[in-house]
């Protein structure tokens, strides 16, 4: 309680402060530009790319936009990853929202039904380039038949293998669940685990779990059965000691640290770990996630969105369209180390030659978005709790899957 009150109080104070300091200039420039007719429009832009190594790419993109899209200025503001969703929500209360934003693709669930995002359907149809995107990333921007965003960049999960450990154990990179279980067991030795993955009680853990559910041939609506299959597969890994029970507390960053420190022979992780792995003293390769009934991986990455509250939606769309031109998009993605969501760019840029990036790009064709509607957060929480209960031996896979399925059905059925 006191927390909520503090936040509100803080929000108001911070909002007033921000208005006095930063937004004042935005408003004045908007005012002067807008009223003189055809003058410069200032677009505010929010994202969560706060790390230093992202800044050159964004500085260049903003400069590109300002010099090539007529009459536009960009005011970019960054927030910590965990804060952007909240900030947009709070912004909706206080009326302080940006014109455009780059949001996590999973946020389309909560934002999609909120009426906060501008409907881009008409503009996208006129633009006519939707066919150039991979199916998963594009589907992730569609909510109730409307296009509410366009992909900014995409990523997905794959399996990293420590080649030296695999060679010395005489194991080939696994391609099926059975091979994965077998390899993980053979690679486990001393304080080294065969496999590391994140099963933390947040969306990060669910992001890593969903591929197993999909590979088992199911989805959230068949969690009682296929969820149990996926859960018992992971439960076996833990029971055999191939996967540490401690993974219920690991973020994906923790998982990568284990892999780099050679405490795990294989890890499930995304392409954003590539820069640190390339600097590490370690031989590794990346392969597709092992399949069971089918191949699947989980789609990550970000989407561009335009806010419904924006007074400059035309200009905002012009900016978004400009960023999708290959001549702009490729250097931006290369500088970020991210992958394109567009099939037509597969043979340009670093991902055309780098084998690891190429592998991740190839997996985008089986990457599924977490597109389940406004109550996805409840379903996601149920999945995370079920996984944690099974891996910590608090519940059997079938029982955990069954009780999670009840919560999932309630959440997704009440849309």
């Amino acid at each position: 309680m006191s927390y909520a009150v503090d936040r509100r109080g803080f929000l108001r104070a911070a909002g007033a402060g921000a208005a006095a300091l930063g937004l004042g200039s935005v408003l004045t420039s908007c005012g002067s530009g807008g009223q003189s007719g055809g003058g410069t429009v200032t677009l505010t832009w929010w994202d969560y790319f706060t790390l230093d190594n992202f800044q050159p790419a964004f500085a260049r993109l903003v400069k590109d936009i300002e010099s090539n899209v007529p009459d536009v200025r960009i005011e970019r503001r960054t927030f910590p990853f965990a804060d952007l969703d909240r900030q947009i929500t709070l912004g909706a209360v206080s009326g302080d929202l940006p014109d455009i934003a780059i949001v996590d693709n999973v946020a389309m669930n909560s934002l999609g039904g909120s009426g906060l995002l501008a409907d881009l359907t008409g503009r996208v149809e006129e633009w006519g380039q939707s066919g150039t995107y991979y199916e998963g990333p594009w589907a992730g921007c569609q909510v109730d038949g409307k296009t509410l965003g366009i992909p900014n960049n995409s990523n997905c999960l794959a399996l990293y293998c420590n080649t030296r450990m695999l060679d010395s154990a005489g194991v080939k990179p696994p391609t099926t669940w059975d091979e994965l279980a077998d390899a993980a067991q053979k690679l486990t030795r001393g304080d080294r685990y065969g496999l590391a993955m994140s099963a933390i009680r947040t969306e990060e853990g669910v992001f890593q779990f969903l591929p197993f559910l999909w590979q088992a041939g199911g989805d959230l609506d068949t969690f009682a059965t296929d969820g149990a299959t996926a859960l018992s597969f992971l439960d076996d890994l833990v029971a055999k000691g191939s996967l540490s029970e401690q993974c219920v507390g690991w973020t994906q960053q923790d998982v990568n640290t284990r892999f780099v420190n050679q405490r795990a022979a294989m890890q499930i992780n995304g392409p954003w770990q590539l820069p640190s792995l390339k600097q590490a003293d370690l031989e590794w390769e990346v392969v597709a996630l092992p399949r069971d009934r089918t191949s699947a991986t989980c789609l990550g990455g970000e989407n561009w969105v335009v806010m419904e509250s924006s007074k400059h939606q035309d200009k905002a769309w012009e900016v978004l369209e400009y960023t999708q031109r290959p001549s702009v998009l490729v250097p931006y993605l290369v500088a970020l180390g991210n992958l394109p969501a567009r099939k037509d760019l597969a043979d340009t840029g670093t991902w055309a030659s780098d084998p690891a990036l190429r592998l991740f790009l190839s997996q985008l064709s089986v990457a599924r978005p977490r597109q389940y509607g406004p109550h996805y957060a409840d379903a996601s929480q149920a999945v995370a709790v079920a996984e944690q209960a099974v891996l910590t031996d608090s519940a059997a896979p079938t029982a955990a899957a069954k009780s999670a399925a009840v919560k999932i059905d309630k959440a997704l059925g009440s849309q």
């Binding site: 927390y3 929500t89 906060l116 029970e245 507390g249 929480q381």
Partner: protein, 315 residues
């Protein structure tokens, strides 16, 4: 303005001549308290009332923007009370609070007795202990998260080094010990506060009482039991009430250490409310649960103020 003021005062003079200076003083008093009242109104009463408003409306992400949220009476409260996770959180909060208070108080009392005696470096050690209380909870939470880590944590390393390796454990990732882990960290944070207040209390006890008792042949234990403890009662109750208020709403240290997990082993009420608000975006229900969370500290705070007033009257 000035004229008007004078006229009104004149009117008063004719009616209530003798009380005029004091009433003027009282009016000035109200004037001086205006900034404080405005501050309280703006930053306490308004958000609180807004929260009450939210708790009886159907507010979620969808209805937030349009302002189309409907009044739904006690539906949010009913939904909260019907949620088994809420009651689970209530139980956890009670266990967390009672365990924290017990250990904080006992250890704090023992340390206060120690520091009440003069010895070399007393002042320095006492100030060093306070660091635990001064550290931001995010920092202490992170510290304990690392120290209690199953694989590379300091506590397990210590246990192994002292031949007690069999006791080493995945403290925070085992649902049966993670609550104990966060209580442990919270006790460490709370001990200095308890010690400091209890130390002040110990200093108010007249040393002559102890001397007289010693002359009469009372043992150390007897003096503690029959002099220190009874005289420390008022201070102890105050310390425990304040501790209750602080501990019941602890959020940051748990959030950093376990995020409410594993499974839901450390999802105390404050984390429950946070998740309703910022993960599920059900603002109406969150506000209702939040107000229910407020009840306990409010009750404790009321008791505390009541006691203060009674002590004031007694003095």
């Amino acid at each position: 303005m000035g004229k008007h003021h004078g006229k009104r005062q004149g009117g008063r003079h004719t009616r209530r001549h003798p009380s005029s200076p004091s009433s003027r003083r009282r009016r000035a008093g109200y004037l001086f308290s205006l900034p404080g009242l405005a501050f309280l109104g703006l930053f306490l009463a308004y958000p609180l009332l807004y929260n009450v408003w939210t708790s009886v409306h159907d507010v979620d992400l969808g209805t937030l923007l349009g302002g189309a949220s409907r009044f739904n009476g006690l539906a949010n409260y009913r939904a909260t009370v019907a949620d088994p996770d809420f009651w689970h959180a209530v139980r956890l909060s009670i266990v967390f609070t009672l365990a924290s208070l017990l250990f904080q108080f006992v250890i704090g009392f023992a340390l206060a007795l120690l520091f009440a005696r003069p010895f070399p470096l007393n002042g320095l050690l006492r100030s060093l202990l306070l660091v635990a209380w001064l550290l931001p909870p995010v920092v202490s939470g992170t510290l304990f998260r690392w120290m209690l880590d199953g694989e590379s944590g300091a506590y397990n390393a210590l246990l192994r080094a002292t031949g007690l390796g069999a006791l080493s454990h995945d403290w925070l990732t085992d649902p049966s010990t993670s609550l104990a882990g966060v209580v442990f960290a919270n006790v460490w944070v709370g001990v200095p506060f308890n010690m400091l207040l209890l130390l002040v209390g110990l200093h108010t006890i007249d040393p002559e009482l102890h001397e007289a008792a010693a002359i009469d042949g009372a043992s150390v234990w007897q003096r503690f039991r029959w002099i220190t403890l009874p005289l420390m009662r008022p201070v102890s109750v105050t310390v425990l009430l304040l501790g209750l208020v602080y501990t019941f709403k602890v959020f940051d240290i748990i959030f950093v250490m376990t995020g409410g997990g594993p499974v839901d082993a450390t999802s105390v009420l404050s984390l429950y409310v946070y998740e309703i608000f910022f993960r599920f975006f059900r603002f109406g229900e969150g506000a209702a649960a939040g107000l229910l969370l407020l009840l306990v500290p409010l009750l404790a705070g009321g008791l505390y103020v009541h006691r203060l007033r009674r002590e004031g009257e007694a003095a």
